[in-house]
Subunit: 294 residues, 2 copies
């Protein structure tokens, strides 16, 4: 990782985390529920999604505290999806980011409700961003609802579960990931563009970048499941192979998956080159996504 | 039930249901997910919440198709909460409204995700109501997020679960219901007032009405669990007594619960009497809530 990206992350991650913390602590709700929400929000993670909002804002040289709020909101949606994914009726995971999963600490009922509460809270926070133009807030709410719901993340999760029963084609596998992880990543980049008043052209270029970065993210995730260790990943490694899951390495071999990863990486960079001004941070971010080892 | 209320329900319920159906059918998502969402949305129910939006609009003599959209959205939130409530890790119910619960038909994972998708979709629909003023849409989103989330319905659900372990005081029991069922009922009435451009005074009077109606609704629910049959209710009767749950009849006896019901009913009617114009439909609605037998 370059020094610039490192310093960008080091200065911004604590601010995103502070925003999440404050946004939950301020609400009037049963203490155990807030504790459960905060437990998973504070369980670490790379904070890739909020960082993308901020990196896009940085590209356009726009500073606005709303970026941290929107980043915190996206991380809440991401966190709720992990809490529900980890439930026994879904992936049945005991560990996440090296810590016990929410339901292992708070029980299934409270974990389900903590996820629900985070999902619902996210939209209220966007609606309350007083100093952001009303039309912009509505656009963010509309797009987040699409990205996170049946047409995006939740729909992708359904496809993923259905895919466990059969061998997927590469096209089907791509569809799972474009929805399951891609939709929220694309929204993060789009949200940054909206807050920074990007033009329609710039937004469509960034959407192209986001599409390829989303796939890079998932391919690398699949590769890490094969080549990484449980300790390094903070979650059980080798789960995909053990469950005979359709993944990029399973369909293409590790070499083939790496080639696919490089291909999408190049397309992401080529998209960025179409932007009017240079975008060093977004390029470095793409490199980080491709080379990350956890 | 009076003929006026009967005709009001008969003409409006199919329109609310048509809106829900259309709003789900229009989205691009895996068929099984839409099927699961529609299964629970179409499982019947009294549609009390959307009817409250419409009854308030009717009181102010305002006609606006947005009322059906907002009503449909509220019913989506209510339905998602029932799907999650019925899960084995929560109430573990096999029947709801005389039909198998969502997870008995689609499995726990899909039921969890169908609930998540309905929760998320609700906010997107509100954001997209193009012909409603932007500030109004944001107010509705903000208030729904509060009513449905940790500060309202989800928080109440947490208190309800915690209450299962101990004997609640009357005050604690009221707090559960003001949040668990009351918050969304209050939102329904407030949403009608917002769409009808009610004054601040009218809104505060209606909020008082809503508070007491919410409690009437829950007290009658508790009474029906004791005096109703499973066939009549469409859900297992006598569950509260069997599980030794804190309810109004358990704390006050059936007679005492009935007195409490009448007391809140009177306070609801007294609130309505403060409105500048007569509100026959809202009064009849209150009577229906108090006298309903399912």
């Amino acid at each position: 990782m370059t020094l610039q990206l490192q310093s960008f992350m080091k200065s911004n991650i604590p601010l995103v985390e502070k925003h999440m913390d404050d946004l939950v602590k301020i609400i009037t709700a049963p203490e155990i529920l807030k504790e459960s929400m905060l437990y998973s929000l504070n369980a670490g993670g790379k904070r890739v999604r909020p960082l993308f909002v901020l990196a896009v804002m940085d590209h356009f040289n726009v500073k606005d505290d709303a970026a941290y709020t929107v980043g915190a909101v996206i991380e809440m949606i991401h966190t709720y999806s992990l809490i529900h994914d980890d439930l026994p009726s879904m992936d049945n995971d005991d560990y996440r980011r090296g810590k016990l999963t929410n339901h292992k600490v708070f029980g299934e009922a409270f974990a389900t409700l903590a996820g629900d509460a985070l999902n619902t809270l996210a939209f209220g926070i966007l609606a309350r961003m007083q100093h952001v133009d009303a039309e912009k807030r509505l656009e963010l709410i509309n797009l987040l609802s699409i990205a996170a719901g049946a047409e995006g993340m939740v729909g992708g999760q359904i496809l993923d579960i259905q895919g466990e029963e059969k061998q997927l084609t590469l096209e089907e596998l791509e569809k799972v990931h474009i929805n399951k992880t891609g939709a929220i990543l694309r929204f993060s980049i789009e949200a940054g563009a909206i807050l920074a008043n990007a033009t329609a052209d710039e937004r469509s270029i960034l959407a192209e970048y986001a599409h390829h970065i989303g796939l890079c993210f998932q391919i690398q995730d699949d590769i890490l499941d094969v080549v990484g260790t449980t300790e390094q990943l903070g979650k059980t490694a080798g789960k995909d192979v053990a469950s005979d899951k359709s993944t990029y390495p399973a369909l293409l071999t590790i070499d083939g998956a790496n080639k696919k990863l490089q291909q999408h990486f190049r397309l992401a960079i080529e998209a960025l080159d179409k932007l009017p001004s240079d975008s060093i941070l977004l390029k470095e971010f793409a490199e980080y996504i491709v080379h990350r080892n956890k």
